[in-house]
């Protein structure tokens, strides 16, 4: 009798496990790239779904694009389902592409949607697209192409910066300001710099040259080319005092240029003063002041515009191999 009871319980345990709603892998439409646009009071959703299986049963990675519109993201997703013969699975999404319109009008709703979606993880990258969304998706661009483009430019040129959803969210929660890498698509993908957001709306765009300056200040640069000079190495430290912020830069360049330091200092000051005058905290300096116990976030709003900015730039010059040989 006891054994029968136990057997009954274990049978029930097996029957009621998560297996009741499993989905076969080939029935999943794994979304790698998601695009959201907002036009005429409707969301336009685009997805790239990874399609592994060919008609003959062989495996080859390719993408199928679907698009749909709806008054809400849920409605648009519902219409996407009508077009797809697979379950749309967002857990492996790598890149989310947003248009300027959707950022300016529906960013808050999108953030809420992404946060409340149980499948979506917060480690995907965010990108702003300046060209029409449909062209990008018609070309079946891989999310990896976008991601690699940004990474490579960040690493070797300093002209972009990769932003994950979590990073973006943290910035937004600090002071509602953040930034997104800006790309365009016209036959090829292209980096256009960085888009600056203030109060969840686009404020301005940093050109690729300005992005190099921004990355220099953020200590994000490994290598970059700035005004025909290659920056081989850079290290930036920000020293914060009550009424003064000093940027200590140790920059290594490959060309002996007397004017480089002068120009760099002038340009860095120009960009910082410009946004300081607009009361836009480009480098989250107010929060850094708070972290250093110099002021509360509220007080820093008053202090920040009055804070003087100083630069301490040390330029070193790396001789090329040939030059070293000649000088010997």
């Amino acid at each position: 009798m006891k054994k029968t009871k136990l057997l009954f319980i274990f049978t029930l345990l097996l029957l009621f496990t998560g297996c009741s709603s499993y989905t076969e892998l080939n029935k999943l439409g794994i979304v790698s790239l998601l695009g959201i646009d907002y036009k005429d009071e409707e969301y336009h959703l685009y997805i790239n779904v990874v399609e592994g299986e060919q008609d003959d049963g062989s495996l080859q990675k390719e993408y199928i694009t679907y698009d749909a519109t709806g008054e809400s993201i849920d409605e648009a997703l519902h219409f996407l389902y009508l077009k797809s013969n697979k379950k749309i699975y967002l857990s492996h999404m790598d890149v989310l592409v947003l248009s300027e319109d959707v950022i300016n009008s529906k960013l808050q709703e999108i953030i809420n949607y992404l946060l409340n979606h149980p499948e979506i993880r917060n480690n995907f990258e965010l990108v702003e697209l300046s060209s029409p969304m449909n062209i990008l998706f018609e070309e079946k661009i891989d999310s990896k192409e976008i991601s690699d483009l940004i990474q490579m430019n960040q690493e070797y040129m300093g002209t972009s910066f990769s932003v994950t959803f979590e990073h973006f969210l943290e910035d937004i929660l600090i002071d509602k300001n953040s930034y997104l890498p800006l790309i365009s698509f016209d036959k090829n993908l292209e980096i256009n710099g960085i888009s600056l957001l203030k109060n969840l709306k686009i404020l301005d765009t940093l050109s690729t040259e300005e992005t190099v300056l921004f990355n220099l200040l953020q200590n994000n640069i490994n290598q970059a080319i700035y005004k025909n000079t290659t920056i081989v190495k850079n290290e930036t430290n920000i020293e914060i005092k009550k009424n003064q912020i000093t940027f200590h830069l140790k920059t290594e360049i490959n060309k002996n240029s007397n004017k480089f330091k002068e120009n760099l200092q002038k340009d860095l000051r120009k960009i910082l003063i410009y946004y300081q005058d607009q009361d836009y905290d480009l480098l989250k300096l107010k929060y850094k002041m708070k972290q250093n116990h110099l002021s509360s976030l509220e007080d820093s709003n008053v202090l920040f515009p009055k804070t003087s900015l100083k630069f301490d730039i040390k330029i070193s010059y790396t001789n090329s191999y040939l030059e070293r040989r000649i000088s010997k």
């Binding site: 917060n122 979590e166 943290e170 708070k290 972290q291 116990h293």
Partner: protein, 353 residues
């Protein structure tokens, strides 16, 4: 009842799990929302408050060492004991519903979003049913085994979180007022009365001679305090205070970020096993307590144990469909339990054994 079977270490592990259930029931975000990074100090202050509280309750534990909590209540209040047990039954049932709901919604949201919540709860309750048909010492022995797994999982997750940590995110410390730190310490302290109430049910003499007691309580509080401090430190350094405040389960979000050498990723489902244990032991002890309460109040023979258990499980399943409880409700019950235990302890001074 089996006497002298529970060891001090087993008792310690059960208490440890019950104290750590602060993570799923109240959550780190509750205290970080009040005092930001200073919530780290709240854990220290809260632990000190807990240790202080054990001195107030000590008398109740040593009072009538062969008797369970219900027998002690009957001895202290021979006329009103039925009424008191009625209130305790009501409160314990509501807490059980709250715990079950929290567990179900956690599994549903993070691990099995497409499975109906009823199907998530049912196998778990069946497991508890099987578990509770055994003797009480089985709860403690299982807890001992699970403790080692829990520590192992903690170490693994710590190594996973550490590479993503940025200790600058812990700054600024001491940025909130003392009143905020004290308020969050009190919130943290409120996770204490329920574990204590559940463990006080067991008579002192059900433990091995000279084991358990106040020293074990203090050891559990200290160990759990250190454990929670390190966990919150890692969460804050990984997510930052803004994101910690945003998520209901920041620990699960940090688990999602873990990647070992970019090869082993998406390990949160495995690591959440330790999270499930934090629901399991409070649920087991609550159902055990309710079962014993019914058997004792109505003087039923042990033959009715299965029937009572089954009714409790069905009641819990059905109750989940009709009622829902907020975290504030848990706070209210914790305050009530704290006052109730102090009252019992002081009253036991007046009435000699």
């Amino acid at each position: 009842m089996n006497k002298h079977k529970i060891t001090g270490f087993q008792y310690f592990t059960v208490f440890f799990f019950l104290l750590n259930s602060f993570i799923p029931f109240l959550g780190f975000h509750k205290i970080t929302m009040i005092s930001n990074q200073d919530a780290l100090f709240s854990i220290i202050i809260g632990s000190i408050l807990m240790i202080g509280f054990t001195f107030l309750i000590k008398r109740l534990y040593f009072y009538l060492p062969n008797k369970t909590l219900f027998e002690k209540i009957k001895f202290l209040f021979p006329k009103g004991f039925f009424f008191i047990l009625g209130i305790l039954f009501l409160l314990s049932s509501c807490i059980l519903l709250f715990v079950t709901q929290e567990f179900t919604s956690f599994i549903h949201f993070y691990l099995l979003p497409e499975v109906h919540q009823f199907l998530i709860t049912l196998p778990f309750l069946l497991l508890i049913f099987y578990f509770l048909r055994k003797e009480q010492e089985v709860i403690f022995r299982t807890s001992e085994i699970c403790f080692y797994f829990y520590i192992l999982f903690f170490i693994i997750s710590m190594f996973g979180i550490l590479p993503q940590s940025n200790f600058l995110k812990i700054k600024p410390l001491f940025s909130t007022s003392i009143s905020s730190i004290l308020r969050s310490s009190l919130y943290f302290f409120l996770s204490f009365p329920l574990p204590l109430f559940l463990l006080l049910y067991f008579p002192k003499n059900s433990l091995k001679r000279k084991e358990g007691g106040q020293k074990t309580w203090i050891k559990s509080i200290l160990f759990s305090g250190i454990f929670l401090f390190v966990t919150l430190f890692l969460i804050l350094s990984s997510l930052g205070v803004q994101l910690t405040n945003l998520y209901k389960n920041p620990l699960m979000v940090t688990y999602q970020k873990i990647s070992f050498l970019n090869i082993l990723e998406r390990v949160e489902a495995t690591l959440s096993f330790s999270y499930v244990l934090l629901y399991f032991f409070p649920m087991v002890l609550l159902i055990y307590l309710l079962k014993e309460l019914i058997l004792y109040a109505f003087s039923l023979s042990p033959n009715y144990e299965d029937l009572v258990l089954l009714l409790l499980l069905i009641g819990n399943l059905l109750g989940n469909q009709f009622f829902s409880f907020h975290t504030n409700f848990y706070f209210s019950i914790s305050i009530f339990l704290a006052v109730f235990l102090i009252f019992l302890s002081f009253y036991s001074f007046l009435k000699k054994e």
